[in-house]
Symmetry: C2
């Protein structure tokens, strides 16, 4: 009735990543803003130890004047808050085969936080954008070897995206300084985009007059079907609806046991492309779908919306699914759609539920 085994078993290398990184236990979808420690975390290399007394952020490149900020100096600039849902581009990867050796997410690589910091345009305008500005490169302090390339983690944004007011140089998460694993003392937050863009442990912001061609753009985070294909870079999050698994779990299988029906199914849905306009629920594995109620959102266009569905099942075994559609018409496939990097797999969630 369901996907009881993976098409390809998990290797030691994948387990090592799964033991370090972690997802949102799906019952934590109940929180509009995800508590620290429940928000997903993915770090490519190690969490760096940063001495905040020594740390500075450099702003340089195609600017009128290079700048350097201490954390206190950034805190003295006008601040903004954005509640944003962030999802890993690799969410859903574990059910693909073959798949690259990387973090084997099932569906839990998501979270919503209240980020506070300096709008990126504020910092860029202080430096004075040069006429040739085309992209902005963000360099983290986290360092390692990937695909044979020694690197600090870095990613770039097109200048138009970098000038969005809601893009933050964030120093707070949920009202507290960033935890080490979320980028202390400063990270980028790009609402609407997959998480790989929101570079953590920022050390510099460099305005470029050309497209950046580093590892995390040219080799990783591209949607492609073959190695020799140029492919398209990942950017915004595909729509996805997830439900709080109803009832209680079996420890081993995580199948659900529901002993009180009717019940209310609840969850969250998001898309980086446009607002979610519809969530549907299926209790038969994706054959028949019924519209769920979309609730008021958490007050931010960049955060997930909550949904609910009154369900009155008779005793039996069900494969319960949910799916979202956004205002741009993007939806979710019922089955897995393969790609080389295992990215942006937004196939619908399937939860086995026994109503007793």
């Amino acid at each position: 009735m369901t996907d009881a085994e993976l098409p390809e078993p998990v290797t030691l290398a994948e387990l090592q990543l799964a033991a370090r990184n972690h997802g949102l236990p799906l019952e934590a979808l109940r929180y509009a803003v995800t508590p620290v420690g429940l928000h997903y975390v993915l770090t490519h290399y190690d969490i760096p130890a940063v001495d905040v007394g020594e740390w500075r952020l450099g702003v340089r490149g195609e600017v009128e004047r290079s700048l350097s900020f201490s954390l206190d100096e950034l805190r003295d600039l006008p601040a903004a808050e954005v509640v944003a849902t962030m999802e890993c581009a690799g969410n859903g990867r574990a059910r693909l085969a073959p798949r690259p050796v990387s973090q084997p997410w099932l569906l839990e690589a998501v979270g919503t936080a209240r980020w506070r910091g300096v709008p990126l345009p504020t910092a860029l305008k202080r430096a004075g954008l040069g006429d040739r500005a085309r992209q902005v490169l963000f360099t983290g302090l986290d360092r390692g070897l990937e695909g044979g390339v020694a690197q600090c983690y870095e990613r770039a944004l097109p200048i138009g995206e970098a000038l969005r007011e809601e893009v933050l140089l964030a120093y707070e998460m949920n009202g507290s300084p960033l935890p080490p694993q979320h980028g202390f003392p400063l990270r980028l937050v790009v609402p609407g985009w997959y998480g790989m863009t929101s570079v953590k442990w920022l050390s510099s912001v460099t305005v470029l007059d050309h497209p950046f061609s580093g590892y995390q753009h040219e080799r990783a985070y591209r949607f492609r079907l073959a190695e020799d294909e140029e492919g398209t870079p990942l950017s915004r999050m595909q729509p996805r609806a997830l439900m709080v698994p109803p009832g209680v779990p079996d420890f081993v299988t995580r199948e659900r046991i529901v002993d009180e029906a009717p019940l209310r199914l609840e969850g969250r849905a998001w898309s980086g492309w446009a607002p979610v306009v519809s969530v549907e629920v299926s209790a038969d594995g994706g054959e028949a779908w019924t519209r769920a109620d979309l609730e008021a959102d958490v007050g931010s266009p960049w955060a997930w919306r909550s949904w609910s569905f009154e369900w009155a099942p008779t005793p039996g075994r069900y494969l319960v699914c949910c799916r979202a559609v956004d205002a741009a018409g993007n939806g979710q496939p019922v089955g897995q759609v393969w790609n080389l990097g295992g990215y942006a797999n937004n196939a619908v969630q399937r939860v086995v539920v026994s109503v007793v």
Copy 2:
């Protein structure tokens, strides 16, 4: 040169657990007290949603008077703080074969927190221990099916252990209310014991006149070699030393690249039986061992001690290991020692390091 594959691949059921629960990324051994979100978490079932306005702790059973406390009432009692290292009894399970379907920890299921709460003896004395008191049962609000048995998670302590002053009914972790995943609003903390004993989301404390025989005692958390063996219950943590992996990682293999030698290896070591009195390091996979420096501890007999080792390797590939011995003479084996439940496997850590 090392354990490049698991003896048995990870299944979907194990991955589901690994995606929910999470360990301490080993570079976070650098923190004497583990920041929230980096401390290991294991939950058998779901994290319950607790309405603290409705919640109460019951104290009952073999007592002179049954009591019931709100969180505010507990906060009004005399409080104590304990810095304690907590490790999952299943830490090290993933390298065993065959192994039960459970959380496939490598080595990262540990953390140290500053817990604050009411000493358990204070609460028990308020209720008045009956003469027949033999064990104390702790019942959590987390509910599920395990081994075919519907249950709330619950574990008991012998009365002598329950009366230790450092056993806490804890409502704070690192100076803040417990995060949901660590047992909000109240959990038990039993310093020195494996984590299964420190029941989260406490709803009741029941003094028993007999040994408790629930699932988590009779079926789980026993050290045994065959199903039909009675075995011995898990209790205190075996000694273990872990190191902060030196240098920087390769993303996929997590092997380490060190480009600056000599260097200082650092880590932490603990035992639930007695203070750690010695840590040794090997750079050749456990053939030759040299004593490391044990540093001042973090001011608590229940917390790990830090250690360091000045290492001056020539370029080459090394299999670096560390091991601890406690004052009771307990040590760590170099190889895996199998048991049915995959518990208490304190085989030494092995880190592949390329010095370039």
